[in-house]
Symmetry: C2
Subunit: 266 residues, 2 copies
Amino acid sequence: MTPIPIDDPADPRLAAYTRMRERDLVGREGRFIAEGEVVLRVLLSGSARFRVESVLVSPERLPGLERALAHLDAPVYLASKAVMGAVAGFPIHRGVLAVGLRGPEPAPDALVPAGPALLLGLVGLANHDNVGGIFRNAAAFGADAVLLDSETCDPLYRKAIRVSAGTSLTVPFARVPTGDELLALCERCALTPVALSPRGEDITTLPPLPRALLLLGTEGPGLPEAMMARARRVAIPMAPGVDSLNVAVAGAVALHRLGGGRVAAG
Amino acid sequence: MTPIPIDDPADPRLAAYTRMRERDLVGREGRFIAEGEVVLRVLLSGSARFRVESVLVSPERLPGLERALAHLDAPVYLASKAVMGAVAGFPIHRGVLAVGLRGPEPAPDALVPAGPALLLGLVGLANHDNVGGIFRNAAAFGADAVLLDSETCDPLYRKAIRVSAGTSLTVPFARVPTGDELLALCERCALTPVALSPRGEDITTLPPLPRALLLLGTEGPGLPEAMMARARRVAIPMAPGVDSLNVAVAGAVALHRLGGGRVAAG
């Protein structure tokens, strides 16, 4: 790996890094931006799906990353933070960026393991912090995969990857068109669809569910009633008068309970 | 309640609402800003500690709030969203603001109940989203109070109140100077200090702790080692290779476990 110094913010080799925030909104045709050292290291640690197209780092950050970048088969551009900021359109305090290639999305059914299975199904989640947080929790509690309906926002959005601590690059995910299609997949794959509801059975006394898909709906309205009716409804015990938790937090408590023996204390 | 129309952003009666973001950073001498209808309703629903100094709403929002404001013993100012934005210094999309009075802070020991007790102790938490989220979780899982060291940020900061869904106005809290003082309080009040550590005992098989204070430290470094050594260390089981959860999420799972019989499923 020989870093390539670039001084000119208009250099065409940095085109994928330009006007970053505007392009966050419209998508990047098969690419995504990885930001910060934690996320870059996850991306470099390799996945069958994602590849690095290029890396852009400031000179201060290069020494700490040299070993991690040593065997990378993609260009590493070196630019001052001032040039990085001029390219991106806002200050890049961390001095570490990369462009990743999304690769082909797996078929949803291919992500359902034989035997014990715990998946997440996200329906209409429009908040990147929540989606990123849910991936981080899915990784921590050993979920097999995350399935997202078409209304749910992109887990490879820059901020979602960052909030996920890079786990949206490691937890397998795929899109399904609708929440109903998630329920159809549960039938096909013999998964119990589980929904959180204050009027469900107490999750603390729930018998183990060896094959489950935990459905999480938009904050506020939650899951559509018609989906709720077709799922096994479970409740996280809460204090009187409190009607909800943040969706990522509720999902974490449910994954912790549903995961049971999947993960072990150190 | 007779609303008082105001057209002039420079009207001295709106002084407490001016330059809102700049003053978020320096504090408001005994006051705080409540933003949005959810938070305003919590504030109006009454607490021994907090009082409303004034309310500022846009004409569109008044009809929906009239009943809630009917018995308020404080002025309700009525201004267009344009005037509200000019006063605050940024657009007030929700059209609902209030100034609250902080009231006297309780003594930390006074917040420890006799009998069963579950408190939170926050050490060096500098992120308002996390502190707000922790209050929301404390309310959901029936914690008695939150104690904050002097490094932890203000739960009455505008954004922290909003993320807490108003619960930083309902869950009692007090400051202690340092984390060591939290441990001293645990000794005085016969509370078991509990800390989360990947090398602790498995929280899923922990015997009930009738009187506990859950310590949560800064994301990244976590609790200082010296505090960790004096606490009962418990682990949330996680997948291999995953070393942490977001601090508010980890706290929620721990409160769910430690809370045990405090709260009930619907």
